[in-house]
Amino acid sequence: MSSPDATAAVLALLTADANVKVYDGEVPVDPATGRLPARPYVVVYGPPDGDGARSLDSLAGGSNRADGVVTTTYVGDSAEAVRIVAKRVRGLLLDRTPAVTGRTSFPIRHDSGQNVTRDDDVQPPVLFAVDRWLCQSVPA
Protein backbone atom coordinates (compact mmCIF):
# COMPACT_ATOMS: atom_id res chain seq x y z
CA MET A 1 0.00 0.00 0.00
CA SER A 2 1.20 3.48 -0.86
CA SER A 3 1.53 6.36 1.63
CA PRO A 4 0.96 10.09 0.96
CA ASP A 5 4.51 11.11 1.91
CA ALA A 6 7.86 9.74 3.12
CA THR A 7 7.13 10.24 6.82
CA ALA A 8 3.82 8.39 6.50
CA ALA A 9 5.62 5.63 4.62
CA VAL A 10 8.20 5.29 7.42
CA LEU A 11 5.38 5.16 9.98
CA ALA A 12 3.68 2.46 7.91
CA LEU A 13 6.86 0.38 7.86
CA LEU A 14 7.22 0.68 11.63
CA THR A 15 3.59 0.13 12.65
CA ALA A 16 3.56 -3.06 10.58
CA ASP A 17 5.58 -4.59 13.42
CA ALA A 18 3.24 -5.12 16.37
CA ASN A 19 6.22 -5.42 18.71
CA VAL A 20 7.24 -1.79 18.22
CA LYS A 21 5.30 0.97 19.99
CA VAL A 22 5.35 3.93 17.59
CA TYR A 23 4.31 7.58 18.03
CA ASP A 24 4.12 10.26 15.38
CA GLY A 25 5.79 13.51 16.47
CA GLU A 26 4.57 13.47 20.05
CA VAL A 27 3.95 11.07 22.86
CA PRO A 28 0.36 11.23 24.16
CA VAL A 29 -0.12 11.82 27.87
CA ASP A 30 -2.91 9.89 29.54
CA PRO A 31 -5.44 12.64 30.43
CA ALA A 32 -6.64 10.71 33.47
CA THR A 33 -3.27 10.07 35.06
CA GLY A 34 -1.11 12.71 33.35
CA ARG A 35 1.44 9.99 32.69
CA LEU A 36 3.36 9.09 29.57
CA PRO A 37 2.81 5.61 28.11
CA ALA A 38 4.92 2.66 29.20
CA ARG A 39 8.39 2.54 27.70
CA PRO A 40 10.17 1.53 25.52
CA TYR A 41 8.83 3.23 22.41
CA VAL A 42 9.98 5.09 19.32
CA VAL A 43 8.91 8.59 18.32
CA VAL A 44 9.05 9.54 14.63
CA TYR A 45 9.77 13.16 13.68
CA GLY A 46 9.34 14.03 10.01
CA PRO A 47 9.76 17.21 7.95
CA PRO A 48 6.79 19.64 7.96
CA ASP A 49 5.46 18.55 4.56
CA GLY A 50 6.25 14.89 5.19
CA ASP A 51 8.67 14.58 2.27
CA GLY A 52 11.35 17.17 2.97
CA ALA A 53 12.79 20.17 1.16
CA ARG A 54 12.78 20.09 -2.61
CA SER A 55 16.20 20.23 -4.22
CA LEU A 56 17.35 20.34 -7.81
CA ASP A 57 16.87 17.14 -9.77
CA SER A 58 19.92 17.33 -12.04
CA LEU A 59 18.40 14.94 -14.60
CA ALA A 60 14.95 16.52 -14.89
CA GLY A 61 16.21 20.07 -14.29
CA GLY A 62 13.56 21.20 -11.78
CA SER A 63 13.39 21.32 -8.00
CA ASN A 64 11.50 18.05 -7.82
CA ARG A 65 13.82 15.91 -5.76
CA ALA A 66 12.57 15.49 -2.21
CA ASP A 67 15.41 15.36 0.29
CA GLY A 68 13.92 14.57 3.68
CA VAL A 69 15.32 13.44 6.99
CA VAL A 70 13.09 11.42 9.28
CA THR A 71 14.27 11.08 12.86
CA THR A 72 13.52 8.13 15.12
CA THR A 73 14.01 8.67 18.86
CA TYR A 74 14.07 5.55 21.01
CA VAL A 75 13.08 6.00 24.66
CA GLY A 76 13.42 3.39 27.38
CA ASP A 77 14.06 2.79 31.07
CA SER A 78 17.38 1.08 30.41
CA ALA A 79 20.12 1.22 27.82
CA GLU A 80 19.31 -2.36 26.85
CA ALA A 81 15.64 -1.49 26.20
CA VAL A 82 16.70 1.42 23.99
CA ARG A 83 19.11 -0.79 22.06
CA ILE A 84 16.43 -3.45 21.49
CA VAL A 85 13.98 -0.92 20.01
CA ALA A 86 16.73 0.73 17.96
CA LYS A 87 17.87 -2.58 16.52
CA ARG A 88 14.32 -3.53 15.59
CA VAL A 89 13.62 -0.16 13.93
CA ARG A 90 16.89 -0.28 12.02
CA GLY A 91 15.91 -3.69 10.70
CA LEU A 92 12.58 -2.28 9.56
CA LEU A 93 13.95 0.83 7.83
CA LEU A 94 17.52 0.40 6.60
CA ASP A 95 17.68 0.02 2.81
CA ARG A 96 13.89 -0.41 2.56
CA THR A 97 12.20 1.45 -0.29
CA PRO A 98 9.13 3.32 1.00
CA ALA A 99 6.01 3.36 -1.17
CA VAL A 100 4.92 7.00 -1.65
CA THR A 101 1.99 7.89 -3.91
CA GLY A 102 3.08 9.63 -7.12
CA ARG A 103 6.78 9.40 -6.33
CA THR A 104 9.67 7.05 -6.97
CA SER A 105 11.55 6.58 -3.72
CA PHE A 106 15.16 5.63 -3.19
CA PRO A 107 16.09 3.14 -0.46
CA ILE A 108 16.15 4.62 3.04
CA ARG A 109 19.72 5.33 4.16
CA HIS A 110 21.08 5.88 7.65
CA ASP A 111 22.25 9.49 7.86
CA SER A 112 23.57 9.93 11.40
CA GLY A 113 22.61 9.33 14.99
CA GLN A 114 23.29 9.73 18.66
CA ASN A 115 24.29 6.92 21.00
CA VAL A 116 22.32 5.95 24.10
CA THR A 117 22.20 8.97 26.40
CA ARG A 118 20.59 9.64 29.77
CA ASP A 119 18.00 12.43 29.83
CA ASP A 120 18.01 13.98 33.29
CA ASP A 121 15.57 16.72 32.29
CA VAL A 122 12.66 14.35 32.78
CA GLN A 123 11.62 12.68 36.04
CA PRO A 124 12.36 9.91 36.47
CA PRO A 125 15.38 10.10 34.14
CA VAL A 126 15.12 7.97 31.00
CA LEU A 127 17.55 6.76 28.38
CA PHE A 128 17.25 7.56 24.72
CA ALA A 129 19.07 7.26 21.41
CA VAL A 130 18.47 8.80 18.00
CA ASP A 131 18.77 7.75 14.36
CA ARG A 132 18.33 10.06 11.39
CA TRP A 133 17.16 8.51 8.12
CA LEU A 134 17.57 10.00 4.69
CA CYS A 135 14.44 9.58 2.54
CA GLN A 136 14.84 10.78 -1.02
CA SER A 137 12.39 10.59 -3.90
CA VAL A 138 11.61 12.02 -7.34
CA PRO A 139 8.29 12.33 -9.16
CA ALA A 140 7.09 8.99 -10.56
Binding site: G25, V27, T71, S112, D119, L127, R132
Partner: protein, 127 residues
Protein backbone atom coordinates in the same frame (compact mmCIF):
# COMPACT_ATOMS: atom_id res chain seq x y z
CA UNK B 1 66.09 -23.23 -16.11
CA UNK B 2 65.67 -19.65 -15.09
CA UNK B 3 64.17 -16.49 -16.52
CA UNK B 4 64.85 -12.85 -15.89
CA UNK B 5 62.73 -9.79 -16.44
CA UNK B 6 63.78 -6.16 -16.50
CA UNK B 7 61.43 -4.38 -14.05
CA UNK B 8 63.38 -1.11 -13.84
CA UNK B 9 60.64 0.74 -15.80
CA UNK B 10 58.04 -0.65 -13.42
CA UNK B 11 60.08 0.61 -10.46
CA UNK B 12 60.26 4.04 -12.09
CA UNK B 13 56.46 4.01 -12.56
CA UNK B 14 56.06 3.02 -8.91
CA UNK B 15 58.18 6.00 -7.82
CA UNK B 16 56.30 8.35 -10.15
CA UNK B 17 52.92 7.16 -8.89
CA UNK B 18 54.11 7.53 -5.29
CA UNK B 19 55.20 11.12 -5.91
CA UNK B 20 51.94 11.77 -7.73
CA UNK B 21 49.93 10.41 -4.82
CA UNK B 22 51.68 12.78 -2.38
CA UNK B 23 51.03 15.73 -4.68
CA UNK B 24 47.40 14.59 -5.10
CA UNK B 25 46.86 14.55 -1.35
CA UNK B 26 48.00 18.17 -1.04
CA UNK B 27 45.65 19.22 -3.85
CA UNK B 28 42.79 17.17 -2.42
CA UNK B 29 43.37 18.80 0.95
CA UNK B 30 42.83 22.23 -0.61
CA UNK B 31 39.55 21.00 -2.12
CA UNK B 32 38.44 19.52 1.20
CA UNK B 33 39.32 22.76 3.02
CA UNK B 34 37.15 24.81 0.67
CA UNK B 35 34.33 22.27 1.02
CA UNK B 36 34.64 22.22 4.82
CA UNK B 37 34.50 26.02 4.95
CA UNK B 38 31.32 26.06 2.85
CA UNK B 39 29.72 23.33 4.99
CA UNK B 40 30.66 25.25 8.15
CA UNK B 41 29.06 28.40 6.77
CA UNK B 42 25.96 26.42 5.77
CA UNK B 43 25.69 24.96 9.26
CA UNK B 44 26.11 28.42 10.79
CA UNK B 45 23.42 29.79 8.51
CA UNK B 46 21.02 26.96 9.37
CA UNK B 47 21.68 27.52 13.08
CA UNK B 48 21.02 31.27 12.95
CA UNK B 49 17.79 32.78 14.26
CA UNK B 50 17.11 30.59 17.26
CA UNK B 51 16.20 32.87 20.15
CA UNK B 52 17.73 30.72 22.89
CA UNK B 53 20.83 29.78 20.90
CA UNK B 54 22.05 33.10 19.54
CA UNK B 55 25.73 32.27 20.20
CA UNK B 56 25.52 28.71 18.91
CA UNK B 57 26.40 29.48 15.25
CA UNK B 58 29.74 30.95 16.37
CA UNK B 59 30.63 27.68 18.09
CA UNK B 60 30.67 25.83 14.75
CA UNK B 61 34.23 25.36 13.50
CA UNK B 62 36.12 23.08 11.16
CA UNK B 63 39.51 21.42 11.05
CA UNK B 64 41.24 19.38 8.36
CA UNK B 65 43.88 16.68 8.76
CA UNK B 66 46.09 14.99 6.21
CA UNK B 67 47.58 11.53 6.65
CA UNK B 68 49.70 9.27 4.49
CA UNK B 69 46.69 8.06 2.53
CA UNK B 70 43.78 10.27 3.53
CA UNK B 71 42.44 13.78 4.01
CA UNK B 72 39.71 14.36 6.56
CA UNK B 73 37.64 17.29 7.77
CA UNK B 74 35.84 17.61 11.09
CA UNK B 75 33.07 20.19 11.12
CA UNK B 76 30.66 20.99 13.93
CA UNK B 77 30.04 22.80 17.19
CA UNK B 78 32.99 23.10 19.58
CA UNK B 79 31.74 22.28 23.08
CA UNK B 80 34.44 24.54 24.50
CA UNK B 81 32.83 27.58 22.89
CA UNK B 82 29.78 29.48 24.12
CA UNK B 83 26.63 27.38 23.62
CA UNK B 84 28.62 24.75 21.68
CA UNK B 85 27.26 22.09 24.04
CA UNK B 86 23.75 22.80 22.72
CA UNK B 87 24.66 20.90 19.56
CA UNK B 88 23.33 17.55 20.74
CA UNK B 89 19.98 19.06 21.72
CA UNK B 90 19.60 21.12 18.53
CA UNK B 91 20.69 18.38 16.14
CA UNK B 92 19.25 15.29 17.84
CA UNK B 93 16.60 16.53 20.26
CA UNK B 94 15.91 14.87 23.60
CA UNK B 95 13.74 12.06 24.90
CA UNK B 96 10.76 14.43 24.68
CA UNK B 97 11.55 16.62 21.67
CA UNK B 98 12.67 16.16 18.11
CA UNK B 99 15.66 17.84 16.50
CA UNK B 100 15.49 21.54 15.61
CA UNK B 101 18.17 21.74 12.90
CA UNK B 102 19.03 19.34 10.07
CA UNK B 103 22.62 18.38 10.94
CA UNK B 104 23.71 17.10 7.55
CA UNK B 105 21.86 19.34 5.07
CA UNK B 106 24.97 21.44 4.20
CA UNK B 107 27.08 18.26 3.99
CA UNK B 108 24.60 16.58 1.64
CA UNK B 109 24.62 19.68 -0.55
CA UNK B 110 28.41 20.06 -0.67
CA UNK B 111 29.69 16.45 -0.60
CA UNK B 112 29.09 15.68 -4.32
CA UNK B 113 30.87 18.91 -5.31
CA UNK B 114 33.87 18.12 -3.08
CA UNK B 115 34.04 14.57 -4.43
CA UNK B 116 33.99 15.86 -8.01
CA UNK B 117 36.75 18.44 -7.46
CA UNK B 118 38.83 15.99 -5.40
CA UNK B 119 38.69 13.45 -8.22
CA UNK B 120 39.78 16.11 -10.72
CA UNK B 121 42.65 17.19 -8.43
CA UNK B 122 43.82 13.59 -8.01
CA UNK B 123 43.66 12.94 -11.75
CA UNK B 124 45.71 16.09 -12.48
CA UNK B 125 48.40 15.07 -9.99
CA UNK B 126 48.69 11.53 -11.30
CA UNK B 127 48.68 12.28 -15.03
Amino acid sequence: MSSEMDVSELRKLEVDLGAGAVAALEDVRKVVQVGALKIKRGMQSDATGHRHAAAFPSSITYDTKIGATYVEAEIGPDKGRTQGALGNLLYFGSSKNGPVIDLTRPLREEAPIVADFAAQAAARALL
